[in-house]
Symmetry: C2
Subunit: 517 residues, 2 copies
């Protein structure tokens, strides 16, 4: 089996012991690895030492060594037969608040073997980090939350392995990237001080731990790399995102936005990185996401309204009968309503333009997106003026945050080389629609780059290259975290951004061209 240059797996052939060279078994192996890796420090766990003598003789001194690096020290994590054909696997985990993605990789050659997605079972306790943090007010309840997620990871790892003809004991390395609270709950660390002033996590640099210490079923010596956080509001998933974007290695300044339940932003280049998170200001949280639903069959993901004919064209996932609308569909819808003149510049439904689609309930306007007759649920799918107001607050917050951090580093949007959109949700947003409502700046479309699940990508990278832990450290140490002050300046910007697309129409020339006269 091929091994990539920077793989954590090293193929080693030892010279068998002799009277002329009677170095001890473990020392012989460690010396060979020290020479190979050019390091002075390699640590071997006690149980691995116990296995070494029979293993190296059984494998005729030809071994695959699985290593990892931790705080200035190399760890010999595990050993496999150098001539054998058993896989040497790793598991990358994108630990989302709502959804968890597991990816099984071949540590030697970097092949992605399989992937699986499941809902974070902690949702049974609460849907968001705040509810779960409040729930975890005793050691038992904290353990309960930890077991929920770890058991699910074990179960899905086993399934993934089985599908690939592997056993969980063939898993030697894991990596996990999640937000700060999710990381705490995964490790069984008390999150209570994260949500109380002065907002103190237990740890932001958890480093490398024994997987078994966290209850993970894998090889006995398996290690788990836990992505560092910057603070309470800027988690390891973001660091993984920056890693996967490569923003931190480019000469030109770029921006990365994670549009999830929070708006988290990083601006920078190979010399500096500045970050902020939307939870400090009016957030997208409860905005884009509340009225929407998770992507799934029948969920409306694209909306087009012909400006001339007024004809609606809706696209659902898998072309199934419509059941609801997801966040990206909602942005599309708002943009199309605005361009069709059905929303005014303040984001209010224009009664005359909406005509037959408008209903009134308890004195509030609702727009029928799908009539009951065409809906899969048998009820009309509608959005209310309140839903639209909420979306507009969210998009305004997003734009304000982008404007604030960009101007904070003395730049304008036009100075940005690339605008990375990270996160699964973000990857479905159509930049044209997001620009139309003034959620993101009106930059050339080629500027925008969707990263997909950048947290999972980053977590995978940590399993496949020896250079990555140091790179992650560099990213973490170089990021300056900017607290978002909701001051007068911020509020002025926010007020201007609450219009569609903005009070200053000159900022959105492309929208002006599209809009109906």
């Amino acid at each position: 089996m091929n091994e990539s240059m920077l793989s954590w797996v090293k193929n080693i052939r030892l010279s068998p012991p002799s009277l002329a060279n009677n170095t001890a078994d473990v020392d012989r192996l460690v010396d060979a690895l020290k020479a190979e890796l050019q390091t002075d420090h390699i640590r071997v766990d006690h149980d691995l030492m116990q296995a070494v003598p029979s293993l190296i003789r059984q494998c005729r001194y030809h071994l695959r060594c699985i290593l990892f690096e931790d705080a200035g020290q190399w760890l010999l994590v595990g050993l496999a037969d150098g001539a054998g054909d058993r896989g040497v696997a790793g598991v990358a985990i994108d630990l989302g608040t709502s959804r968890v993605v597991l990816r099984l990789v071949d540590l030697a050659d970097g092949t992605i073997l399989d992937e699986t997605v499941f809902d974070n079972p902690q949702a049974e306790v609460g849907p968001d980090v705040l509810t779960r943090t409040h729930y975890a007010d005793s050691a038992e309840k904290l353990t309960h939350l930890q077991h929920l997620i770890v058991d699910a990871v074990n179960e899905h790892t086993e399934l993934l392995c089985r599908q690939c003809n592997l056993r969980p004991t063939d898993v030697y390395l894991l990596s996990v990237a999640g937000n700060t609270v999710m990381t705490h709950l995964f490790m069984g660390l008390d999150p209570r001080f994260i949500i109380r002033e002065p907002y103190i996590p237990v740890v932001n640099r958890p480093g490398v731990q024994r997987a078994a210490d966290m209850g993970i079923h894998a090889d006995a010596g398996a290690r788990i790399f836990i992505f560092p956080n910057i603070g309470s509001y800027f988690g390891g998933d973001l660091i993984a995102g920056v890693l996967s974007s490569g923003l931190h290695k480019q000469k030109e300044t770029s921006i990365l936005v994670d549009v999830g339940t929070n708006a988290e932003v990083v601006v920078g280049n190979r010399d500096w990185l500045m970050a902020c998170a939307g939870a400090a200001g009016p957030a997208l949280e409860g905005g884009v996401s509340r009225m929407g639903m998770m992507a799934g069959p029948g969920v409306i993901e694209r909306v087009h309204i012909d400006v001339d004919t007024g004809k609606w064209d809706l696209k659902t996932i898998d072309d199934a009968p419509p059941v609801g609308i997801c966040g990206s569909g909602m942005i599309d819808l708002a943009a199309q309503l605005f361009l069709a003149g059905m929303l005014d510049i303040r984001g209010k439904l224009v009664a005359s333009a909406c005509a037959g689609r408008l209903e009134k309930e308890n004195g509030l306007h609702r727009l029928v997106v799908i009539p009951a007759s065409a809906s899969a649920t048998g009820e009309a799918l509608t959005i209310s003026q309140a839903d639209i107001d909420s979306l507009i607050r969210s998009k305004a917050a997003m734009y304000t945050i982008l404007e604030t951090i960009t101007s904070h580093v003395g730049m304008g949007f036009n100075d940005l080389h690339t605008f990375f959109i990270a996160g699964t949700f973000g990857s479905f947003i159509d930049p044209v629609s997001a620009i139309a409502i003034g959620m993101i700046p009106d930059l050339p479309l080629s500027t925008y780059r969707s990263l997909g699940n950048s947290s999972l990508e980053g977590a995978t990278m940590a399993l496949l290259s020896r250079n990555v832990p140091a790179e992650i450290d560099r990213i973490r140490n170089r990021i300056t975290y900017m607290e978002l002050n909701v001051n007068q300046d911020f509020m002025n910007r926010f007020s201007a951004a609450r219009f569609l697309p903005h009070t200053d129409r000159l900022l959105f020339p492309s929208v002006k061209i599209l809009q109906k006269g």
Copy 2:
């Protein structure tokens, strides 16, 4: 409580978290320790991280941190209240084949709190390393041997702690120095290849391990430092001995001899160290020790025979009625018999001079040391010609080894600055007697320095000074191990040394003066 400059215990006062400094709890602690220890790399285990938030608040940010160093990395082993009065303890273990000594120390100020000695319970399987190694031919039997010693260590640690008002969970660091096989059995490492050509230990540099991994009951995060070995015949007990002697730091060349069941020798200075072990030649093993018994009440430890009057003067331990003779008493006895003319230069009992003390059984001479009437056992305490022959072979082997290694480094005995005698047994030897029989060279008495239980001393040093692990590494790496070739040269030397004190009487001028005319 005072803390010595180089203690593994660090008193740390953290500034409490604030909005202006919202560093995570563990990171705050790690950063403070990094500054204090001037290191970049500090590792914290997962379970300690779990305990940190409540602990640091409970202790009002004033902590005693117990640390250790391992392969280029500092470990935060445990935490205690900085203002509390609970001890922070360590256990040093001299892991002998026959006897084990445990010493409880205060890690902060270096006070020796208590000590205990017990027989190595592995003796129930076999008295020596060879029997035990042969016994350990299956995983179950190896585990049995490991449990025997680890259970005993746990039991005695608990006793020591109780006597000092401590709990085993107050023990954060342990160190163990033993010979190569004892170290293997303690760690549950298969010793089978140590005794088979080409004589390969599992590991010679076991480093620092989690105590819990070895079944040791102590603080959950407690670490055990296991002294490195040089090879199958030169164990960690000897490295501990060199460490405690300070030989490796002196400008002048000195020699260190461990007179135990083996004769192990190190010659050197701050620039170089040369070692050899007697098991490679005719050893003292089964010689000095077989006919003797362990020190204890009633054991004869000193013998004096008045050359003029022929009167015997025996000293027993605790002045109890005599029950036997220990190794050092045996050397005294042989020396006195020789000086009194009762042994001739070949080491044979001189019938005429022994007069009434000589008995004959099965055609062999036996000398009555204590008649039945005066013995505590009710039987006469005797030594046979065979016992004496065995002692002489042993002393000749010892002298030959000393001569061989000294001449190998191009020196004579007179070039040696200090002659360290290590080991509990060695510490009871009277140099005057050992010189009289030609076991050790005839150097000025001021040259000889008894180190006592140098293995225990060395093990203690590892618990009390941060400089020691690096010093141990240096000793280990600097030692050149010389295989003793039993060649013609060696045999010639050995033959000459089989006389009392030696064929070349000029080598022993002081003996010539004492001897009866």
